[in-house]
């Protein structure tokens, strides 16, 4: 078939089952929805400055809807799909696969998600959403949420199966790159928890549309879905950060990463401590009071601390390149460590009384902020594979710092409100603290804009295929990679860093 550029481009995008195309679509669309979500969050934040929601720039019945949109869209419309898209691009390259497992299912995953996401947003606009006043629109929102969840699950199956069953010869599981390992852990956790979200959504739909007996007419439906933003489930968003950070650190150090087995174990432990589906209010009304929840909140600090230590060990005496990926990895890990420490205070309820306060929001913001930094780091580290061009390194190093600063500025005042405010202030925030939080949100948005700006430039002919002297298989591909990923045979894999030996041989010769 002769290639017609005009149709090839359109058909190539809309009809493609190429994992790079699907991944780019996922990332691009998720970033757009992320912008909408961030704007909603800022609007709700400005409205809430005086400690009361819905009395300044937003109407009384609109403000909770805007806040609900922000809270639910961050994981479902932005972070999970963006991370899934990044994984769809990078994971098959890392494990030496010619394509992602079940390419058409991966494409169906994206198109199902995008339809669901658009419907989700439309339902909110039609006065749907958790507390919506229009019953049909609420049903539409529940349908969209179910479609989004099912689509993301389908994508997770594709990524997980790629790591498990589509690896190239001699790439045993202990040789897969850290990011692929972290995505395997992530997909496992999503497969163990997102079906619970799907189940409660289906049940909410049936009850809301036909009965109104289980959850009550006009009940606050988002309380049944909000567990995905709360500990321990929210940690599942940050698992890919760990793998991406370690890959970036290993690449920047130019050496083999020490203690790979320990790193794999710590990533797995962090993932296991992010299983939070049991905290569904319908199943366990007071999940936060359960010993297992408290134990998980305390234990989750340890793997992050261990990984920070491993990163320190890897960089010690290494004279690393200060790459955007390295900066994002380190900043992301530090923000995540802070998040786990904040989360570890929650179990001491009798002493601090933090449950139901702004402290919990601070914790969620820190974890999602860390996940966002990980996403930005991944986009820059693998930019030559994702968009076929190297990102602006100065902006790539600045963006994670700005996002990290922004998220701390958002979370710190919330934590202060939760800790020192009186009953109402602890829930709605101190006025001054709320102002600082809005400023932090603006800084976070600025950081995100800087990140996008660094990737939005014209492609040159001499874009490097491997700007970092990478160690793993994705760096043996062209930039952008060809349709079946590797031009010629996939390089032989005789260690976890197959390209490192090649570089050493080239250096010797």
């Amino acid at each position: 078939m002769a290639r017609d550029e005009s149709t090839a481009d359109l058909a190539g995008v809309l009809g493609s089952a190429d994992h790079k195309v699907i991944g780019r679509l996922y990332v691009g669309a998720a970033l757009m929805f992320g912008l909408a979500s961030a704007v909603a969050g800022v609007l709700a934040g400005i409205d809430r400055i005086d400690g009361e929601l819905g009395n300044t720039i937003l109407a009384t019945d609109t403000a909770p809807q805007v806040l609900s949109f922000h809270r639910l869209s961050v994981p479902l419309l932005c972070l999970i799909p963006a991370l899934l898209g990044l994984a769809m691009i990078v994971v098959p390259l890392q494990v030496g696969a010619r394509a992602i497992a079940f390419p058409r299912a991966a494409a169906a995953s994206f198109w199902g998600w995008i339809v669901g996401a658009a419907t989700f947003a439309a339902a909110f606009a039609l006065n749907g959403g958790p507390g919506g006043g229009r019953s049909d629109a609420v049903d539409l929102w529940l349908t969209a949420t179910a479609l989004i969840t099912a689509s993301l699950l389908l994508g997770a199956v594709c990524v997980g199966a790629t790591v498990l069953a589509a690896r190239t010869r001699d790439m045993t599981l202990d040789r897969v790159p850290f990011f692929s390992w972290s995505m395997l852990c992530t997909t496992a956790i999503w497969l163990l928890t997102l079906p619970v979200l799907l189940a409660i959504t289906v049940l909410l739909y049936v009850d809301h549309r036909f009965a109104d007996t289980l959850f009550g007419a006009g009940g606050a439906l988002d309380s049944h879905l909000d567990w995905i933003n709360r500990a321990p489930q929210v940690y599942a968003l940050a698992i890919p950060l760990l793998g991406g950070a370690l890959d970036a650190v290993a690449t920047a150090s130019g050496r083999r990463f020490p203690n790979r087995g320990v790193a794999f174990t710590l990533i797995g432990a962090f993932a296991a401590l992010g299983i939070g589906a049991f905290a569904l209010p319908t199943l366990v009304p007071a999940a936060a009071d359960q010993p297992v929840t408290k134990g998980m909140a305390l234990l989750v600090v340890l793997p992050v601390l261990g990984l920070v230590g491993l990163v320190g060990t890897a960089l010690k005496d290494a004279k690393p390149q200060i790459t955007s990926g390295l900066v994002a990895g380190v900043v992301g890990l530090l923000v995540l460590l802070l998040a786990t420490l904040v989360g570890a205070a929650v179990p001491f309820q009798s002493l601090l009384e933090l449950q139901g306060t702004q402290w919990i929001s601070a914790h969620s913001h820190l974890v999602t902020g860390a996940a966002l930094i990980g996403l930005v780091g991944g986009l820059y580290h693998w930019s030559t594979k994702i968009v076929g061009l190297a990102g602006n390194e100065a902006l790539g190093r600045t963006a994670p710092v700005l996002i990290g600063l922004g998220v701390v500025l958002v979370a710190a005042p919330e934590a202060v409100s939760g800790l020192v405010g009186d009953a109402e202030e602890a829930v709605n925030g101190l006025e001054v603290a709320n102002v600082v939080s809005v400023v932090g949100a603006a800084v976070l948005l600025l950081g995100s804009a800087v990140a996008v700006a660094g990737l939005a430039r014209r492609r040159h002919d001499d874009e490097p295929s491997d700007p970092w002297a990478g160690q793993t298989l994705e760096w043996a591909t062209a930039s952008p990679p060809s349709f079946d990923n590797f031009d010629g045979e996939v390089p032989a894999v005789d260690s976890a860093e197959p390209l490192l030996a090649v570089q050493s041989e080239e250096g010797d010769s």
């Binding site: 058909a11 010619r98 394509a99 497969l191 163990l192 049936v206 009965a211």
Partner: protein, 220 residues
């Protein structure tokens, strides 16, 4: 053969329009891709039903251990909606029987026994249809309206059992497609990954019915 396990050939034209690189040299590096994917999907399905069942049992527990209304002890299924056990038993027995025919289909495919495979497949689908029929019969027999109830029994009952009906229908489609693709030559007789993957989902569907049968129909 999955595209993920193939090697390189020049195919720029295909790259323009799609799709999946096929027609390349078949050198599988990792077999069992479909089986692994099916197992992962099966895990997700199991979690989905575990969640529904958990919510069902939690709601039922709250009702039957709750305060009694007047002189009437709290009950889950109202006396006006008695749940018949006989069709539920029949559905379970039929589903268990279908596992035998499903295993027969796998065995027949493994031995390139086309006639046996078609017959076993037809029997499996027939049994699946019979289970759907039995469940619909239960729906009609119990006369449990979705709306207007005083407890959450109706939405929970219909969601749980209805989701299982949908799973049976999907499993029937999956079994049919995989058997036909296997017999059509996509998988050789000894490489019966497709039909084994379909049987995995079928056995999972049966296992879920066993749990639902006990938790919903027997203990009521």
């Amino acid at each position: 053969m999955s595209a993920a396990t193939l090697t390189h050939q020049d195919h720029e034209d295909e790259a323009a329009y799609d799709l999946v690189p096929d027609g390349l040299d078949p050198v599988p590096t990792r077999p069992r891709l479909l089986l692994v994917g099916t197992a992962l999907a099966g895990a997700g399905i199991a979690v989905f039903f575990a969640a529904l069942l958990g919510m069902y049992l939690a709601a039922r527990h709250a009702v039957i251990t709750g305060p009694q209304v007047g002189d009437v002890a709290p009950i889950w299924f109202a006396d006006s909606s008695p749940i018949p056990l006989t069709p539920a038993n029949l559905a379970l027995a039929t589903m268990l029987l279908s596992c035998v025919t499903m295993a027969w289909a796998v065995h027949a495919v493994a031995h390139n026994d086309r006639a046996g495979a078609y017959f076993a497949l037809a029997m499996t689908l027939l049994f699946g249809g019979a289970v759907i029929n039995a469940t619909v019969f239960i729906y009609k027999a119990i006369e449990l309206p979705v709306a207007g109830g005083s407890t959450a029994v109706a939405p929970l009952f219909y969601t749980l059992t209805g989701a299982h009906l949908a799973l049976i229908a999907c499993a029937m489609v999956f079994v049919t497609v995989m058997t036909l693709r296997t017999l059509g030559g996509e998988y050789a007789g000894r490489d019966r990954e497709g039909i084994v993957a379909a049987s995995l989902i079928w056995y999972l569907t049966t296992a879920l019915l066993v749990v639902i049968w006990y938790a919903v129909y027997v203990t009521k």
